[in-house]
């Protein structure tokens, strides 16, 4: 027993020596770098001192010594772990007292390019009509007299053509003055029922100024089916306008004239600036014109071979540039086509 006791004292001594060694080294480890070394030296998984004692002292110990060695090993290990942790925490303290970053300084710029305002408006319109079952299509910008005028019931030498000062390329080819030719092009290809939306560029021989450009954008929409009525036209456009401009706007349909629709209407919305009281933007009328529409004239069906006694439909068209100008308060149409980044970046 004495021997055993002596041996136990020897074993405890060994662990005591280790503990003292650790405490000296801990006292010397003043900065995080030394602490990390200390941690590796003592607690390293493969080559750490405590792994060594675990493998070479504890594992080979005989059964009667194992509980004692195990107890000493564990107590030293937890003491070392605790001490290093505390030391790390203590050394870490000064970091918190470093001056805080100036959170009001800007981060580096993150650049996502801007959608063109005309495109924003176009895509918004497409998604509203898309959810009502409208397909999106495109058509040629270089058109024939037939599609741009004749099949839309603009007879030759008719003053209705005056409203659209046309840019000609040859005797037979012109730049489309509106997106409406696509009504005819699509109806020619396809029987009813149809719902289409056709955005695109259009051209008129207008000298550029704040509200005119020889090139601008329109979107044409139309629906043809059995039993489509003037009430459906009103409902569809009212729904669209409230979705687009906000549910608090009021709409107004007033009779107008387009050769390819009858009855025709122009649609106004209550002025978004003054709310309808009358201001400069709405020329004191309280209303702003946003689109033209109507029931497709039966004369158009003749050109595409539809039976006007069976089918009816409506069509509408609006200027995307104009809508974008209204929506964002843009005062000069030329801004759309200059590529001025100071303008475009406002839409990022």
């Amino acid at each position: 027993m004495a021997e055993l006791a002596a041996d136990s004292a020897a074993i405890e001594g060994l662990y005591q020596e280790l503990r003292e060694l650790f405490e000296r080294e801990l006292a010397d480890a003043r900065d995080p770098e030394h602490l990390k070394k200390l941690r590796d030296r003592w607690l390293g998984r493969k080559n750490g001192l405590l792994s060594f004692t675990n493998d070479h002292w504890l594992k080979p110990a005989s059964r009667e010594w194992k509980p004692l060695v195990g107890k000493l090993q564990n107590s030293l290990k937890s003491a070392v772990e605790k001490a290093i942790q505390e030391a790390e925490a203590a050394r870490a303290q000064p970091v918190r007292s470093e001056p805080a970053v100036d959170v009001t300084l800007p981060g580096p710029p993150r650049i996502i390019g801007a959608r063109h305002p005309i495109r924003i408006v176009q895509e918004d319109i497409e998604s509203i009509f898309g959810s009502m079952g409208y397909s999106i299509a495109e058509g040629p910008e270089i058109e024939s007299d037939y599609y741009n005028f004749e099949a839309l019931n603009f007879p030759e030498n008719h003053p209705a053509r005056d409203a659209m000062d046309t840019i000609f390329l040859t005797d037979h080819a012109l730049l489309r003055t509106h997106t409406s030719p696509n009504q005819v092009r699509i109806m020619e290809r396809q029987p009813p029922p149809l719902r289409y939306l056709v955005p695109g560029k259009v051209y008129r021989n207008d000298a550029p100024d704040a509200s005119h450009s020889p090139m601008f954008h329109q979107v044409e929409g139309f629906a043809v089916d059995e039993n489509i009525t003037f009430c459906d036209l009103k409902g569809t456009l009212e729904h669209f306008l409230k979705q687009f401009f906000g549910s608090n706007i009021r709409t107004r349909f007033r009779p107008s004239f387009f050769p390819f629709t009858e009855p025709s209407a122009e649609v106004d919305i209550s002025c978004h600036v003054c709310g309808g009281a009358g201001c400069r933007v709405c020329k004191q009328s309280g209303f702003i014109e946003v689109l033209g529409c109507g029931m497709i004239d039966p004369a158009v069906y003749r050109y595409v071979g539809y039976d006007p006694e069976r089918y009816s439909g409506f069509a509408f068209g609006m200027g995307l540039d104009r809508i974008a100008m209204l929506k964002y308060g843009i005062n000069d149409i030329q801004l759309f086509f200059q590529g001025d980044v100071r303008f475009l970046r406002q839409f990022r």
Binding site: P159, K201, C231, V341
Partner: protein, 676 residues
Amino acid sequence: MRIVLSWLAEYIDVKESPRDLAQALTMAGIAVESVSEELGETIFERDITANRPDAMNHLGVARELAAIFGRQIRKPEIHLREDARPAAACASIAIAAPDLCPRYVGRVAVDVKVGPSPDWMRQRLELCGVRSINNVADITNYVLLEAGHPTHAFDLDTLEGAKIIVRRAEAGERLITLDGVERALLPEHLVIADARRPVALAGIMGGAETEISGRTRNVLIESAWFEPASIRKTARHFGMHTEASHRFERGADIEATTWAAARIAALLQQLASATVLKGAIDAYPAPRQRSAILLRAAAVMRYLGIEIAAVEIESILCSLGFRVERLDGAWQVTPPPARLDVEREIDVIEEIARIYGYERFPARLPAWAGRAEITDDSRKQRQMRDVARALGYDETISLSFLSRSEAAQFGAWEPVAVRNPLSELQSVMRNSAVPGLLRAVEWNLNRGQTDVRLFEIGRLYRQEGSEFAELPVMGLVATGRARPASLNDPGKLYDFFEMKADVAKLLDLFGWKNLYFDRETGAGYYHPGRSARAVADGYAAGRFGELSPEVAAERKLRQPVWLAEICLDRLFRLPLREPRFRPLPRVPAVDRDFSLLLPEGTRFEDIVAAVGAREHLVRLEPVEIFRGGQAPPGKMSLLLRAVWQRDDASLTDEEVNQYAREILDALRKLGAEQRA
């Protein structure tokens, strides 16, 4: 056109305020643009659609108000005391072109005292924007503004043979019109002639030689009806647009001719002490009958979507002056002669809807059994836009026009010319996306914006025989910094590889099998050493690079500009790349760096080709390239990284060493040596 409220009130009782009146007219399709006060009078400024010439006068507007409010109009009364001498004895009228002039009514007034008009008439004319000339001319203009029928007054004594012949002009004939311009006439032009020569351009403008003057004593009043298309063609030929042509080309009222002539005669009697000869000379070889229109109640319902009571339909139509005869479930409807725009059932339905009031129709959403489609091309375009924006490019839109010199410098084909261009800068349709982008860069640089990245998706135009092609194209332009300066970071300038990376990212949207880059841009406006072409599956998908310094200097661009052009018609034949899931590797990849000396001019593509496809090799990437310094002349130094990845197990050191040796062996064939 302008409407004077007090004048209008002569023909109808007006109880509403001017603003309410304007509103009621607007909501019935007679748009009133503005209401103003002038010389103590209320003026309506109107914008009249081409289909309503009948409403381009005070009486016409009164008729509309009568329909809207259910009131009666008062037509001006004509108090005419005719002389016993018949007019037909003093003048004759012959229509030689009844296809272009179906009716010509003449009246003769003698002993006319030409002088100024009374103040009330002058003021009304001026309020309507018509200059006062003398009482005779003023009376014809007054009646035009009053009732809408254009007329003309000739000095009868200047008409050779006191004859009116309505005929086509003869080749070589000339006429000096009232505006002092001598006009060369063609056989398709309709003229009013006397026995010897043309004296007026029919329906457009009178002639100077037969004009009313201070010496005029006897007057022939013309009140005729001309074929609209012919008037329009002739007016456009001469670049003329008059109050008369404006109305005739839209369609006047053939039955108003006799009334207008009598009204003018009465006013000449009243205001110019004229003696009016007996009767009108009415040349009307084939009187026109307006045929009745069948209006079906079912059609009204089918177009308008609501049932409107039969009595309401009848009352609307009657108030507009239609003759209405009720049948079983339908009506026979005859429009008033002034309403040339009403010819078909749908035209009558529009009249009903308009006066019934658009605001009274309920809003409904139609049922729908069709399907909505988005085209592949629009999906592709949208994705390209999204990627370009993510890459930091702002979207721009340039005009589709170029100047001839721009088209010649940047386009690959003869551009489509504009026949009536607004200016030289817009004289052809664009055959390249580049000039528009360069104009935008110039615009920005001139305004102190030096970091610019723009993209545009649009079309180029090309004539192919008698057809035209519109080719979709994407253009990009970049100048200045790719990464903007920020705190402690000067940023990074745009360079070739920035543009290459942007183009590659855009092309990556598509499912090509093979993509390579070479230097064959085929366009002289690129810097020859800093430009490339991208070839996807054998087709040139695009080209990009630095704008050549010569072109930049010509355009006074003070900093390098980078361009890219992507042909979307080619690219869009490829499908969008569909993501495809692969199981995630369970072990990390292993990499090795090779420090190599290579002969100058070795291309990265040669290195990739020399290494070739190898088992578990997933990537070869250049880490660093430098020349000079430790690299001897004729050599370049490349730090190359190879990355291996095995999906099912870790690679051992021995395996990786073996792979690395094999790669080095392969590169030695290019003359590569490993640096110490």
